[in-house]
Subunit: 413 residues, 2 copies
């Protein structure tokens, strides 16, 4: 007899549907479509030559070690390099605070594994990063959403949400995915003080913080937490678990990211990772170390900033020219995304259908809302298309929006 | 205030202690110790030159694609290559049956995620692979152990165990980790027929099947299942989920393995992997493909077999010379491990303590028993030490065993 697999799956799989975005991305993969849907870095900025040289050095200098099993915590010199790199952004920690993961998605998964009991509530920005919801749905998480405005999570609504007893707070303070919005300095301070008052840990997800195109760097939540505690121990022992990644500043195809956390949390994450994939690929860690060390990473990030700043500016200018009145969008100071807000009477899913006909794509915002809403929002990526394609694509999208606004006026008029 | 992290962790972490073996391995890492404790491949057989050439080709021919995000299912040409490679061992499947994971440990984790509800029973060989227990403990698995003898899982005890209603059967038919024992042809057939009769799926873990040093290859459980069903569809749609890996035939530091399963199971695994790490590193998949294709993999496996066969033979001969009467061990026809059985009055944990003093190490067998037992057993690896070190190390271990047997005789005499 055939095995009825559907009846064998664990209960948790019922909330594990395939990502709406990933399925959508398949539709938008046709070469004739200009896609602002994905969150892909620009392939033009991948340092291929440096990778080629680094692979050669790694296989020559480390030999068989590069291809052998290695420790779950991660390659120690890479953890040291990450601690030094973080210090450039004000995050003063030791390598004992640093843990290597197979991409930030794995960090989210492992955090779910060690923290979330079925039914536990997680306090999230609304909208928030879809990948975190995907990772935590599998552990039975429920969500306490806190609304956002142009300064990020609305901390005036935070205290009421904290009284729901969340397991932790999840926040993307810099150029948030999906909105592109940055949490203000004042609200960062309020966030860490309220979290401390209620004894609730914070998970700070910061894949884009190094990609700021204008304005001053704001101190990370983990830094403000350290200052607030006034603990002068060089090893960070506070209330924040900080995530960042090489995906946006080097290459996502390596699947290399890091967690900065108190050592006791890292010990627990290491136990979880042993059961999940033993360790992150040795070869990739050595190659990333060889590419990144000696100052290359800082120069490379500067180059990426220049490329993406231009693309953001081109997109914002094109939107000013091409989008109809009544459509609004955010003005991100960094990152990969901006956020479009349509008139409340319009559905971005309908816009997408019409847009694909016109060979342009984006992601409807609704899936980013953990508890519903956002039918009239859209996430638009500006890092992956060339300036020329951005101008063409936004013009196409503008035409679609003008037409839909006109049709709506005819219907309601 | 300090965050009391211990009180925040999820319930599942209570069974997620660090692997006893990994902690032990740290003790045995001193260079003066000859260690038979780990399960590491011999670094001497890693094809460094081929990797160097493949990295160059990948960065030249695939360019930025090698460093970009890619699909969760895995790089399609690598899935085709794996389907062709499996066919050499009698497993006739299509690329739709093949799914790439970040090492076999991830495959075990994802299987736990999609199948195991807290309290679900998994039918396992006793002893069984410790990494599987680690992965599944986190999902709240309980175990139904079936004892083994020199022909593998005792199928005469299988039917009673199946009546406990296990979610699936987990079996390592070839040169099992930890015992080195191979499941006989007859028992493979009994296993698939009983599993079909009770409607219970089988997870066949086969990291070592390609490393046979003598005797004839036995058909995999997945092959016998296909024949039993007599389904002539080219895509496998049966009752077995088969795991294998590049860790033992190419390099473990890549973290590359594969699952062969019915497409509907793969769809569910893909959903789980999206939330766990998005996808396995693109670069590693391309490099492995470039190294493995064009016949290299088969030649390389032949070379590994020659190296490991010699090491196994050296170890077995040294044991014959050096071990006292009353100590027994298995005669594996392949793989990386053999299994020592001490007199029932001796504890392998005590032997290990004395052995480390004499600068030789192995792994006590007890942790491999999911429901207790095995205090007098030891797992001994023969792949990672040179023949000379094997002779020296086994002589040292023989001295320790002779002395402990003598001391016991004095106490009891």
């Amino acid at each position: 007899m055939q095995t009825p697999w559907d009846h064998r799956y664990a209960q948790r799989t019922q909330r594990m549907g395939s990502s709406a975005i990933r399925e959508l991305l398949k539709l938008t993969e046709k070469p004739e479509i200009i896609s602002f849907a994905g969150g892909l870095p620009a392939p033009e900025v991948f340092p291929l030559e440096e990778f080629r040289a680094a692979c050669g050095r790694v296989l020559r200098d480390y030999g068989a070690q590069a291809l052998q099993y290695s420790t779950t915590e991660g390659f120690f010199p890479l953890r040291e390099l990450i601690a030094r790199h973080a210090a450039r952004y004000g995050i003063e920690v030791t390598p004992d605070n640093v843990f290597i993961t197979s991409g930030s998605q794995q960090a989210l998964d492992l955090l779910g594994k060690i923290f979330i009991n079925p039914g536990d509530r997680i306090l999230v920005e609304s909208p928030t990063y879809l990948g975190a919801l995907q990772a935590w749905n599998a552990y039975g998480a429920e969500y306490v959403p806190v609304p956002m405005d142009e300064h990020g999570m609305r901390t005036d609504a935070l205290e009421e949400a904290l009284r729901a007893g969340p397991k932790f707070i999840y926040v993307l303070p810099n150029f948030q995915n999906p909105t592109g919005v940055t949490l203000s300095r004042e609200r960062r301070q309020q966030l860490i003080e309220l979290a401390d008052q209620y004894g609730v840990p914070i998970v700070e997800d910061d894949p884009y913080g190094q990609l700021r195109y204008e304005g001053d760097h704001l101190p990370s939540v983990v830094v403000l937490d350290g200052q607030y505690r006034n603990d002068c121990h060089p090893c960070y022992r506070g209330n924040v678990i900080y995530l960042s990644t090489f995906s946006k500043i080097l290459a996502p195809g390596l699947r290399l990211a890091w967690v900065i956390a108190p050592p006791e949390v890292i010990r627990k994450l290491v136990q979880a990772k042993q059961g999940a994939d033993l360790h992150t690929a040795t070869f990739n860690q050595l190659v990333a170390y060889e590419v990144a060390h000696g100052g290359f990473l800082d120069r490379h990030i500067q180059r990426i900033r220049d490329v993406y700043r231009e693309r953001r500016d081109v997109m914002l200018a094109a939107m000013d020219r091409c989008f109809p009145p009544g459509v609004d969008w955010t003005q991100p100071e960094g990152g990969l995304f901006l956020w479009g807000i349509l008139p409340d009477t319009m559905k971005s899913a309908d816009v997408l259908k019409a847009a694909i006909e016109e060979k342009v794509a984006f992601v409807p915002g609704q899936p980013f809302f953990p508890c519903g809403g956002g039918h009239n929002t859209m996430r638009i990526n500006f890092s992956n298309a060339s300036p020329e394609n951005i101008r063409t694509g936004i013009a196409r999208l503008g035409n679609v929006l003008y037409q839909m606004v006109r049709e709506q006026a005819e219907v309601t008029g």
